[in-house]
Assembly symmetry: C2
Homo-oligomer: 334 residues x 2
Amino acid sequence: MKISTIKQLLVKIFIKHKLSKAHAIISADALINAELVGAYGHGLSRLKMYCERISKKLINPKPKIKIKKISQSVSHIDANNSIGFVAADLGIKTAIKLAQKTGIGMVAIKGSGHYGLSGYYAEQAVKKNLITMIYTNAPPAVAPHGSLKSLFGTNPICFGTPTGTKIPFILDTSISMINRGKIRVAARNNKKIPEGVALDSFGKPTIDAKKALEGVQLPIASFRGSGLAWMVDILSGVITGGNHAGRVKDPFDDFSGPQNIGHLFITFKANLFQKNYNQRIKDNIRTIKKLPKIKGVKEIMYPGQNKYYRYKKNLKREISISNIIKKDLETLIS
Amino acid sequence: MKISTIKQLLVKIFIKHKLSKAHAIISADALINAELVGAYGHGLSRLKMYCERISKKLINPKPKIKIKKISQSVSHIDANNSIGFVAADLGIKTAIKLAQKTGIGMVAIKGSGHYGLSGYYAEQAVKKNLITMIYTNAPPAVAPHGSLKSLFGTNPICFGTPTGTKIPFILDTSISMINRGKIRVAARNNKKIPEGVALDSFGKPTIDAKKALEGVQLPIASFRGSGLAWMVDILSGVITGGNHAGRVKDPFDDFSGPQNIGHLFITFKANLFQKNYNQRIKDNIRTIKKLPKIKGVKEIMYPGQNKYYRYKKNLKREISISNIIKKDLETLIS
């Protein structure tokens, strides 16, 4: 299906679900971007869920979003259970303005929901020659170090910087070893999962996908990743007023209340301290790319480079729609 | 040896090496703190190196440190090749003042050197009820993903927050899988090293400690950790004006110039957005500690908790001095 056709369709669906036209466009753009960068888990496969949560009044289609200025460089947003895309869009735009005015910006959001890819918002700041750090929490997926139960979300750490070239440096990394979807696929196909990514229900390491599904997923790098996940939970949940400590609801199967996810956006001018920042970052990347490579490695890639190539390639194509999603679209529009 | 005796001795040694009394005290305190928290690699074992670099004029004992105000919340420091402790002490104190005045503070430093433990500076901010994020780069130790050569330092990620109790939450985590010292010990004792921590000189994974020493160490979590290390290099080196892209010199064996390490200190009031932050973080930690535990785990610890206990215990004891360090102290004082 053509990108423009899908966009029209998505906007219609969101408007039908009571979103304003502006909010429908923001949400459609975010979903399409996820498809284009190949992050299908954050794309159209979530549309039905969003609409369901709107219908069940867990996402507020007409939120009264409050922005509170805390200081010259700092603002707080209560998103009033808006769809996450809208809250995050306002968050990054506010953080960009603050940084442009005062050199640095910090925006905390509460009362939001799943907003898709952190990197999508980071790109917006980077296009304005800002460096950005973005944090969000998520429903329980990973066990804290020493624990037998999932509590932390995949809590991504996101960092973006201009590179002096068209392709931004966007690190957007989950702190879980492996995607839950991958474990599900392995279980279905009776395949093993790698060592060190999950524990069984007794807390023992397992490579049996089925046992892993009954147990817990592990964070990257053991206690280190557990600490990083905890940090993200504090930065996005505890300080903002959002849910935290495992209380963010799974959007797909917990309809007992709004998610109340928190986000934190930090932005600052890339050339805040060194006027020739672009030259410096170019030199940095060039130096690293020139290192001797492991056999089979053609190029040392910086974070975000591959995603950019995928995006550019997919932008010229149609988006392929699975039968399940086709059915979703038909049901939701009718 | 009594802590107070060691402190006197260290201050004398630093003054003998031309540091001002104030700077000597700052440096002595940082080294002693490292011993007390059990981070011996950052403690007295480095004293001789610092003195050698001062004697060789690679550390400036009488630096003319310049602080430049960039905006209401942001400052830049050119540490003029001061000993790292002095630059970092000024950096965190400046960041604390900025945050107390404007809610948020950001201080970038260039022209510094190895400053010991990031967590030591984080604690100072946390004591003032601030949240802090601290970044520094370091000499090459870890290979970028896909590369055959070390370039990133162990580039720690540090995050600190008040907890509403006496024991601060201080995450201070290196992005390398394993300490190089541990590989050296294994090689000496003909022991194997864990899988996935190092490559041999051909870029193949190895558990042979000797081959690992000839090869490279790996970052945590593969490309994810490599990205995090790269982020830290940008945040502490590229934006600040410090060295980056593998140009930070090893303080122990590269006397061809000053290190010119960069640091970045971000601070903000913990209750910037939620007045009851202390209550919220207490609830967060309490909830996580209550999770069911893996067999053998008595308590789910938050980052910094163990270090705090060690510190408190060691504070009541004398510091044990190895013969090598005893000799260092005798040589340096004479």
